[in-house]
Symmetry: C2
Subunit: 280 residues, 2 copies
């Protein structure tokens, strides 16, 4: 196959998107909106979720297994739709594979650095993401004068998964987590976990109108589109319909995933398939 | 080796105790109190915690791997110190191994059935434990006239792990979860998850003095002692000291486990060792 023919075949290939569970669906949704002609293969690691309280070594091992699975599905590019995996595993995995791979952290960091007026940015996320100080690193590369203040919010994911998106308990927990960030005078706050867009209105209410909330999902889809264009990998026509277009795999609880996914995506998921990820 | 010699060697062997993470330490603590001469090998599956929102198939697979690891450590008996794993995996694994194995569910069910006066028992636990209706099954075997009312409390584990053992938010969430149980007029409530003894006082305050709280950890240690006596497997003298007596293994985050364990156990853990459980 000539180089040009190979590119043409690759253009039709799907994009691989993965997360520790359902949170990354907020990223998949943005990709569906912004580049609707693309096929997507989504993997949610529901047997080992969450990643946010696990070590760099373990999260990297899990991510590597998923990347191997996605490569077996002949994806043309991979999106790490999980902040913790982006923080811990992306740098290493990037060196090991020969297709483009992007995470959610860098795009979020970039737009936050562009958005801040007073040079004070807050980041909320899991213990892993905040502990890694990955947002600080990327933001400081863009502008070393910016101050970045991180705050881990371990209860946000369980509260979202329990469905308490708008609830006095979530208000109270959010008020506690965010009080230090309010006092520090940030004007920009990164929602550094893919679950957090679901409680965006609670966070926005507490932070006040003057603080810009950055949702890395949106920025990631934009950066992915740019990347595919640069690499000449954008799909030129809509690739199939329904289950031909979007495929979902999980490591456990396929039915529950399907229900949750259908509440997030406007698009009806025909089925989510369970695979044994430990074999990869 | 003769049968008698073999029994003597086995008496000196350690007891294997496992859980999805740190919760099972409340069971290990009871075993240390009630049969202090015994050695314990504890495994916490911190790389794949929690189990409560995962499927029977996945929890059974994980439990089987851990049992294989513990058998490699030549334990004389195994305690499944996790309600979800006891509910989902115990029946199958029991048939596959030739050493005694007990879970936390049956002992908890037994004492609850003995304790109730009005024949109405409540059970709180993870989605997995409650969905399995395992407590109902065991209690009905003892007395088919007893009514068992289950309630899943998915936020209790994250609240305990966040350290909010006594907190208005935990009070509020507990009041919501427990209101139906209060209305149903139960006189006995099983704390059907190993994390829950840590918020025993919150649950007790809401349920009121007339409701007896059953902690399966205590009953499990008692049943274990009985079982070892019957099988002639009780250790006759204290087996070593410190790290010779109690050994701790995890699949991730050994340092964090150690800190948490030291806050629960009076006994100083010398070290927790990380192993790759997926290899078993």
């Amino acid at each position: 196959m000539s180089f040009i023919e190979e590119r043409e075949t690759m253009r039709d290939a799907p994009i691989g998107v993965f997360d520790s569970g359902v949170g990354g669906l907020t990223v998949a949704r943005e990709i569906m909106r912004q580049i609707p002609k693309e096929r997507i293969i989504y993997f949610g690691d529901t047997a080992r979720v969450p990643y946010g309280n696990k070590s760099k070594e373990t999260v990297t091992k899990f991510s590597r297994q998923i990347v191997r699975f996605l490569q077996g599905q002949h994806v043309k590019a991979i999106v790490v739709a999980c902040n913790t995996a982006s923080a811990y595993a992306l740098d290493e995995i990037e060196k090991e594979i020969d297709i483009p791979i992007i995470g959610v952290v860098k795009p979020g960091a970039k737009v936050a650095a562009e958005s801040t007026g007073n040079g004070k940015i807050g980041v909320i996320g899991t213990e892993g993401t905040i502990g890694s100080r990955i947002y600080d690193t990327y933001i400081k590369e863009i502008n070393p004068d910016i101050t970045v203040i991180g705050k881990a919010c371990p209860l946000f994911v369980p509260l979202v998964e329990e469905g308490l998106w708008q609830d006095p308990v979530t208000d109270e927990i959010a008020a506690r987590y965010l009080s230090g960030l309010i006092d520090s005078g940030i004007d920009t706050l990164i929602l550094g976990c893919t679950h957090y867009p679901m409680i965006r209105s609670t966070v926005g209410k507490i932070m006040g109108e003057k603080v810009t909330l950055v949702n890395p999902a949106y920025e990631t889809a934009r950066e992915l589109k740019e990347l595919l264009r640069t690499e000449n990998l954008l799909s030129e026509e809509k690739q199939g319909l329904g289950s031909n277009c979007y495929r979902f795999y999980v490591s456990d609880m396929a039915d529950k995933f399907q229900t949750f996914a259908n509440s997030i995506l406007k698009y009806g998921i025909l089925s989510a398939k369970k695979i044994n990820i430990e074999e990869y």
